[in-house]
Each structure stands twice: as structure tokens, then as C-alpha cells.
């Protein structure tokens, strides 16, 4: 559907994209000829550039400026021209060292991962918690003062959700333990969906023995079901400021506002979790009106059949795609390794 370019055009497009990524300045025919000299004169390059512009791969900010890749240009570059750039040994070492969890806590691991990722790339990073079919691992009711109990829901991902609930008078810690047992026996290994549609009645029946606490148990399940299954960790927002495209404060403000809204981030990430491996979305491909001229390189990694996560780098469209893709690959590998260790798989 999209016609392939001939070899020289490809070389020139690649040179322009890469030069622009490095310098953030529109690049002219002369620069290309001098810096990447293909043995042709600037004039020839100029002709080719005019062609590329007509085809929609380049745009000119104004007459008499050099050219800048269009979204289509980046797309072509990403699809056909770039090759992921392996991080060097020192960087790899750095990644390994940072991801090794000081604490065996999933949240902290993901946070660390994001931090190192954004340190290496100089862009913002996003990471979902491990999600998937949210399998319950354990449910625990713990006493918490008079008339209160703490509900703890432990998911197979190693994440813990907790909430305080009021409980009726006269419920003993022993009762709480009993309820925990019943719930555990029934719920462990199931997913939210399973519960919603099949198990609820069964539990209801079983617990009627403890009719005194029946209402509580039902409420409890409701709580467990209402657990918001996905968290998004973000980091490295300050690194994105070093990018010249964010010298503009207004744009920055919208971006920061969005990054503080977890829902929004969630949407951004889940919409990319379709395919395995690295996925790159450029500008409007993110399908979001609010953020202009942003790209996202993301990868969804699979830990087990029913547990996966998404790791993403968010930056300007003028992003160092090749480098970011390489780093992301390396970081994801280390993360998978570490998670396997922490979760004991």
C-alpha cells in the first residue's frame, strides 16, 4: 500500500531523520551532503528532498529552512530503516544493577525500572502493574480496632490492595479468620470475572452457616471485586524537560496535567498492549487530541500465560527511536528476570 522508496531516497530519509533526532534543527541539503556524503552534490539531494516532501515524508517549517521528518517520515524510518541500537555494556550493567530489587516488592521493582529507563533515555516512562486475568492469591481479613477490619487482597502479581471496612459489633478476630478461610478456599486462583459470574452464590450458601456475618462477607466480596486492577507507575518527568520541544511551558503543562491522571495513562498503555514485543506509535497514532507531537515506544512483556505488563517510554516525536527500542528491550529482559526471581517462578 505504501510504496517503497528507492535506495538513495531511503538513505537520504534516514540521514535526515537521524540528523534531526540528534540536533533538533531542520536539516538542509548541504548538511546531508557534507555530513553523510553519498558522493552526490547538494543539488541532487535537494531534488530528492523535494520528491520526499511531495510524497509526504518531509515537511518544511517555512521556505528557506531545512526539512523536518513528518509523522509519515518517522513511520517509514521506524518500519524500514532503523535498526534497534543495542545499549553498550556499561549501560547494560547499569540496568541490571538498578533493577535488582532492594526490596522484594513488585511496586518498588517497577518504580526502579522506570527510573533507570528514563535515566538512560531522557524521556518519561510509564509502567503498568502486572495485569492480566488478576488471579487472587490470597484474601485476608485482619482485625483493626473495634468495629473495623482491614481487607487485604493479594493478587498473583504480588500486588496487594487493602482497605478498611466497618464491621458490625460482636465480630471476633476468630470470625474474621473463618471468613478469610472460606473466601480463600473459594476465591484463590480465580479471577475477578470468574467471581462475578459463577462463584458468588456458592459462597453465599457456605457462609450462611455464619449467618451472623453474612452481610459482612457479601460486602467484603464486593470490596474485593471493586479492586482497581491496574496501577500505572510513572517517572522521569523531569528528564523530558531537557528536550527542546518542551521549552514551551504551555505544552508542558498539558502534558504534566495528563501524567497526573492515572486513568488517562491507563488508557494510553492498554491501547498498545495488543501485540507482543516492541510497538512504536508516533504522534496522531496515539489517537489523542490532547497530546500533540508525542510518541510512545512500548513493549508488553509476558511473565506467565495470564500475567503481563506494559513498559513504555513517552517522548517527543523527535525521539531517538533506535536507541530507545534497544534500551527498552534490554530493560524489559532484566525486568522479566528480576520479576521471575521475586515471584519465585
Amino acid at each position: 500500500m505504501i510504496p517503497l522508496l528507492d535506495e538513495r531516497k531511503e538513505k537520504i530519509l534516514a540521514a535526515i531523520v537521524e540528523d534531526f533526532i540528534n540536533t533538533a534543527e531542520p536539516v538542509g541539503s548541504r548538511t546531508i551532503a557534507r555530513r553523510y556524503g553519498f558522493g552526490v552534490s547538494p543539488a541532487t539531494i535537494r531534488n530528492e528532498m523535494a520528491d520526499l516532501e511531495e510524497m509526504g515524508y518531509l515537511v518544511q517549517p517555512h521556505t528557506s529552512a531545512g526539512r523536518v521528518p513528518s509523522e509519515r517520515g518517522y513511520r517509514y524510518y521506524v518500519d524500514h530503516l532503523m535498526e534497534p541500537q543495542e545499549p553498550d555494556e556499561g549501560e547494560k550493567e547499569l540496568v541490571r544493577k538498578h533493577i535488582q530489587a532492594k526490596s522484594r516488592e513488585i511496586g518498588a521493582v517497577l518504580q526502579q525500572t522506570g527510573a533507570i529507563l528514563s535515566q538512560l533515555t531522557s524521556y518519561a516512562t510509564l509502567a503498568t502493574s502486572l495485569c492480566g486475568r488478576s488471579v487472587y492469591r490470597h484474601i485476608q481479613l485482619a482485625p483493626f480496632g473495634p468495629g473495623q477490619a482491614m481487607v487485604l487482597v493479594i493478587l498473583a502479581s504480588g500486588e496487594v490492595f487493602h482497605r478498611l471496612i466497618p464491621i458490625p459489633e460482636g465480630i471476633t478476630p476468630y470470625d474474621l479468620e473463618s471468613i478469610s478461610s472460606v473466601l480463600n478456599a473459594k476465591l484463590r486462583g480465580l479471577t475477578v470475572k470468574d467471581i462475578k459470574f459463577t462463584i458468588l452464590k456458592e459462597i453465599y450458601a457456605e457462609l450462611s452457616y455464619y449467618h451472623r456475618v453474612l452481610d459482612l462477607a457479601v460486602e467484603l466480596i464486593q470490596e474485593a471485586l471493586s479492586v482497581k486492577e491496574e496501577r500505572v507507575y510513572h517517572g522521569g518527568i523531569h528528564s523530558i524537560l531537557s528536550q527542546p520541544e518542551f521549552k514551551n511551558v504551555e505544552r508542558l503543562q498539558t502534558l504534566l496535567g495528563l501524567l497526573e491522571q492515572e486513568d488517562f495513562l491507563c488508557g494510553l498503555l492498554t491501547s498498545s498492549s495488543g501485540q507482543e514485543g516492541i510497538s512504536i506509535r508516533i504522534g496522531h497514532e496515539l489517537q489523542n487530541k490532547e497530546i500533540r507531537e508525542l510518541s510512545m515506544v512500548s513493549t508488553s512483556y509476558r511473565l506467565t500465560d495470564d500475567m503481563y505488563g506494559v513498559l513504555a517510554v513517552l517522548g517527543p516525536t523527535r525521539m531517538h527511536y533506535a536507541r530507545v527500542a534497544g534500551i527498552l528491550k534490554c530493560v524489559t529482559d532484566s525486568l522479566l528476570e528480576e520479576l521471575a526471581k521475586v515471584l519465585g517462578r
Copy 2:
């Protein structure tokens, strides 16, 4: 020690501070005379301003500009001239509505509180988790797959810390439950310090009965002790961007970098937790070289004898102190109310 000003000087200083807070422009004698007219001419005001400058309450960005309050000027204003500005009924209502926790989870409540606080003030907000003598409420070991267990430490503040630990072969869920019981019996109601110095040996003795799991239990206690007791929630960073002093991107970058470092925030907040009630620290009073021209209005609220928290607003020195103090007061009241409800006191 610091001499008090005569009444007219005070009025003029107050007018200058308030005008500058509102407009962010250096204010001149004429503006004062016109806008706040004290029945004297600009020339008189000019003389007074010259005095105030000599005394160090005002500074001039350059000759032929108006004057701007110095840190000392703000300090005098805050100490002697301003009166906290009660938020209007609509705002109060808004606060109440937002702080009412959708979920009964301390973290979420604090997050919400920060959000509304920064929405109303247009500055960044910080909130510590509830801290104090970190009393253990419950400790729970939950099974988590083969060779793993989840340690859950529930503090009296309603916060939960969790971590995965490897456990030796052959430990049954029943064993875990036993250990939990022993630990609970011993630790509940104690603080980290208590444990460190007195209880450790006792537990050791008791658990020797389960000598099979002794090492595990000891490790476990270590884990429990290593819980980092303080978290800092922050929010509203994007709102601070609307302040003209942050049009400068470099300054912004240092600020954002700092705000992403939890340790730093912790230090900032704890150093102010000395006195009860609202505390205002201006510029260098924050004793931090990295952040220039920032002020912090904070309040430490006490929930029980041994549980308190800190809520703070961070903005430019040109902060609307009177308004912020009023809002902070109102928000803290609502927060205390809500926390009491959630924690069931």
C-alpha cells in the same frame, strides 16, 4: 529584636506585598497611592518605600522599577500583617466533597486531599503518610506459591507494607499462620523502637518451639523492622506551572527533579513538623540550596497522641500566604474528620 514598623509603614508594606502577590509585577509608589490610597501622595509613599528598602523589607530589581518584597518583607507580612483568609462557602463544600473517601484507604484519602488542596491553591502539595510511633496493628504471613510468602505489616495508621520473602521448603500455610499468631501476640501495639530493643529475644525464645521455622521468623522480624515508615504523597505539580516564576524551564527542571526524590521531600516535611498548627517558611528559611525562591506553608495535624501527619503547600515565595493558610486550615480540618471516620475513632 526586629523593630516594629509604624502604622503607615505597615500599611504600605502590606499593600506592596499583596499587590505583588496578585500581579507578580514590581509595584511602584503611584500604584499604591492610586489603588490603596491612604490620602497621601505618591511622593510620600516613595519616601516610606525608600525607608522600607533601607530596612531590608523591600528590594528593587533595578533602578526605575517598582519594589518587590524581600524575604524579610514577606516574613514581616506573615508575622504581623496578614490574616488568614477563610475560604468561601463554595470552596469549603468542595473540600468536604472531595475528601470524602470513595475508598476507605488511607493512601487514597491523602492523595485526594493533596489533589483538592493544589486545585484550590494552584501550588504543589505534599503530604506525609500518618507517622509517629508507628504502632504495629497486625502482622500477617500469607502463603504465596511454593517457596514464597507474603509478609504484610499493618500499621495503626491504616497503612500496609508488604513484601515477598523466600521461605524454606516444607513450611506449610499452617506454619505461617502459627508464626503470624506469635508475632502478633508479641508485636501488636508496639513500635519499631520497642521491638528493636526489648522484644526480640522474647520472641526468639517462644518460637524456638517451632525451631524448624526459627530462622525464617527472625528474618521476618527484620523485614518488619526495615519497613520504611514514611511515605510522601505529592500532587498538583502541573498547577505550579501557571505561576509566572516557573516560565523559566531550568528552574522548573530542578524543582521537578527534587519532587521525584522521596527522600528529599521527606526531609523537607519532617524538618517542619516541630510545631503544631500552621508554619510558614520562606525562601532560605527552608534551608535548602537547591530550591531558590520557594516557600512552604505546612501544618502538622495530630490524630491521636502518637499519630500525626504533615500537609504542606509548596509554591514560589510570592505565594498567596493568607489564602493558602486559610485553605490549608480548612482542608486539614476536613482531613482530620475523614481520617477519624476511616480509622474508626
